[in-house]
């Protein structure tokens, strides 16, 4: 270590810049995924089919031009679905569930745990690296498809783009945190897949395919109290119909859910790791 002697030798002391290692994990995932960026385009076809069906579906539902359903014009409604589907296709939330469940069941977690990082943050960082490549590609596809097939989005405020981006990032992170919490139950139960399925379907029906306003008025406050509001509905609603008040409301809810989700995640992990049983070898 001759050349580095004049510098502060950090070896074996740890945590001088705790976030640097997560930045490096992020960069490594990005480097890995950039090699396979072309593979992402394989999913474009499914996205196209899905959106095409919804364009036709909402075309039948809206009989007259300018008609409003639950406060949305036809264009807004289609753009809403395009945005939520962009978040789902572009983020691959199943990555978290797949990786964590696989690590716990396959015993790989044992080899990841004895590294000087927090396993849950390692997974979240990897997930962020995953969607950092996919999401921009799906965003471009959605923008092109929407403009060509539906027409420009009238409620979109380009100046508010940074706020929207923050909400999207927070929404994806909250989704990953909750999926991680469910996956961590694999420490106790053999397979957490049924719980993941339930969570995914709730997000799909309540937040992705239809905005919250579609549901009965009595249900809406309840739905707005679930993480669905912060994961899909909130960010998509801001893209389709931005207002500063709505943005603050979504951000506040996201902060609350993120704090609660993180607390829950750390708690489950701490308890679960003591239950770890690593199979053979």
């Amino acid at each position: 270590m001759g050349r580095c002697r004049d510098k502060i030798v950090s070896m074996n002391v740890g945590s001088r810049r705790p976030w640097r290692k997560y930045a490096v994990i992020y960069r490594s995932v990005l480097m890995e995924n950039l090699q396979y960026a072309a593979n992402v385009t394989m999913g474009f076809f499914s996205y196209f089919i899905f959106i095409y069906i919804f364009i036709k579906l909402w075309g039948y539902m809206y009989r007259t031009p300018g008609e409003l359903i639950a406060g949305y014009t036809k264009e807004q409604m289609i753009w809403y679905v395009m945005m939520t589907e962009m978040l789902i296709f572009g983020s691959d939330g199943a990555f978290v569930a797949r990786t964590v469940a696989g690590d716990i069941r396959g015993g790989n977690i044992a080899y990841l745990m004895n590294k000087p990082y927090h396993y849950t943050l390692y997974i979240l960082t990897r997930y962020t690296g995953e969607w950092s490549v996919r999401l921009p590609m799906y965003a471009v596809l959605a923008a092109v498809m929407g403009t060509v097939m539906v027409g420009p989005l009238s409620g979109f405020r380009p100046k508010a783009f940074p706020a929207m981006a923050v909400c999207v990032v927070l929404g994806l992170t909250i989704n990953a945190v909750f999926k991680l919490c469910i996956s961590l139950f694999s420490f106790w139960i053999e397979d957490a897949t049924p719980f993941q399925w339930l969570y995914d379907k709730m997000i799909l029906v309540v937040g992705v395919l239809f905005p919250v306003e579609i549901f009965p008025r009595a249900l809406q406050p309840l739905l707005k109290m679930t993480p669905i509001y912060t994961v899909c509905y909130g960010p998509a609603k801001l893209i389709v119909d931005f207002s500063p008040e709505k943005c603050l409301e979504v951000l506040a809810a996201q902060m609350l859910y993120l704090a609660a989700g993180f607390g829950l995640m750390v708690l489950i992990y701490r308890k679960g790791v003591k239950k770890l049983y690593v199979n053979g070898g």
Partner: protein
């Protein structure tokens, strides 16, 4: 006749195993005054797992849903030993003997049910992360490298994970790639490397932060004899030059003979022998190969 011989052997082994004190350093260099520091201290370590049991067939599967039946498996039963700093120890045993469970408790992955563990003065159950900076692990059957990245990128990654500055990482990569002869393939993605090249990279990745204790779990598994020899030589060299404590688990007797001077044999969660390889060989003068001796010990303990 064979049975009588087996019983005799078993009695001899029992006697022999109980005569050897676990902390006795049978190979200490005479006349050399040196303070021996303990790298690893294990006292009465035990671990029990609850394992699901199911009767055979569909009926058994349905029954298991209604009345799940679990059984306690005592994987480690009151194991006690110490390892000196800079020592190369072989910790071996048949499959299911409890050696991997012990390693996992030493590295803080599993929580013991009883007893005490200290690695470099750190309790792994309480300060796993702190300990992680001081130890390295190589599991021959598991990959820790990112397969789509090159070894060079992987080493930089591990350098950052262990909080090394870029300058420190660069120097360490240079030093280790020279020593482990990685120059020819350091910029080739790991997925394109041969097993021997990959294992060398795995070892380098686990050495990047200059660990004081290195846990090697079957590091030469699947390698051809030439590469095995090469890897062993590199481990020896590293122990000599960096005074790294080596805790080796292997089913390959060659690894044990070439690398370690002390051997601990575990069976059924207990230590059945703790001695120097040399004395073990001397004790069994009638048997030539260490492998035969080890197989005999496994068998006699299994019968017992």
């Amino acid at each position: 006749m064979g049975n009588t011989r087996g019983c005799m052997e078993q009695r001899v082994l029992f006697f022999y195993a109980n005569k050897v004190k676990p902390f006795e350093s049978a190979y200490s260099i005479k006349g050399e005054e040196r303070t021996v520091m303990q790298a690893i201290t294990v006292e009465n370590l035990s671990k029990t797992f609850r394992v699901k049991r199911k009767e055979k067939g569909m009926r058994g599967s349905i029954k298991a849903i209604i009345h799940p039946h679990t059984e306690e498996i005592r994987a480690v039963k009151g194991v006690t030993f110490t390892v000196e700093e800079g020592e190369m120890l072989a910790f071996i045993g048949p499959n299911g003997a409890g050696k991997s469970t012990t390693i996992k408790m030493l590295t803080g992955i599993l929580y013991p049910d009883g007893g005490r563990v200290e690695v470099l003065g750190i309790d792994p159950t309480k300060k796993r992360k702190q300990l992680a900076y001081q130890i390295g692990t190589v599991f021959g059957q598991k990959e820790q490298l990112w397969t789509h990245l090159t070894p060079n990128d992987n080493f930089r990654f591990f350098g950052a994970i262990y909080d090394l500055s870029e300058c420190e990482t660069e120097e360490r990569i240079e030093e280790l790639s020279e020593r482990f002869a990685l120059k020819d393939f350091i910029d080739t993605p790991v997925r394109n490397l041969s097993l021997g090249q990959r294992i060398r990279c795995e070892i380098v990745a686990s050495l990047i932060h200059k660990p004081k204790v290195l846990f090697l779990d079957e590091p030469t598994i699947g390698l051809d004899p030439v590469v095995k020899e090469n890897v062993r030589e590199l481990i020896k060299q590293m122990n000599r030059e960096e005074h790294t404590t080596i805790f080796l688990t292997s089913h390959d007797v060659g690894d044990i003979e070439k690398l370690c001077r002390r051997i601990i044999i575990v069976n059924d969660g207990q230590i059945v022998l703790d001695d120097s390889v040399e004395r073990l060989k001397r004790h069994y003068q009638d048997k030539r190969a260490l492998e035969e001796i080890i197989v005999d010990i496994y068998r006699s303990e299994g019968d017992g």
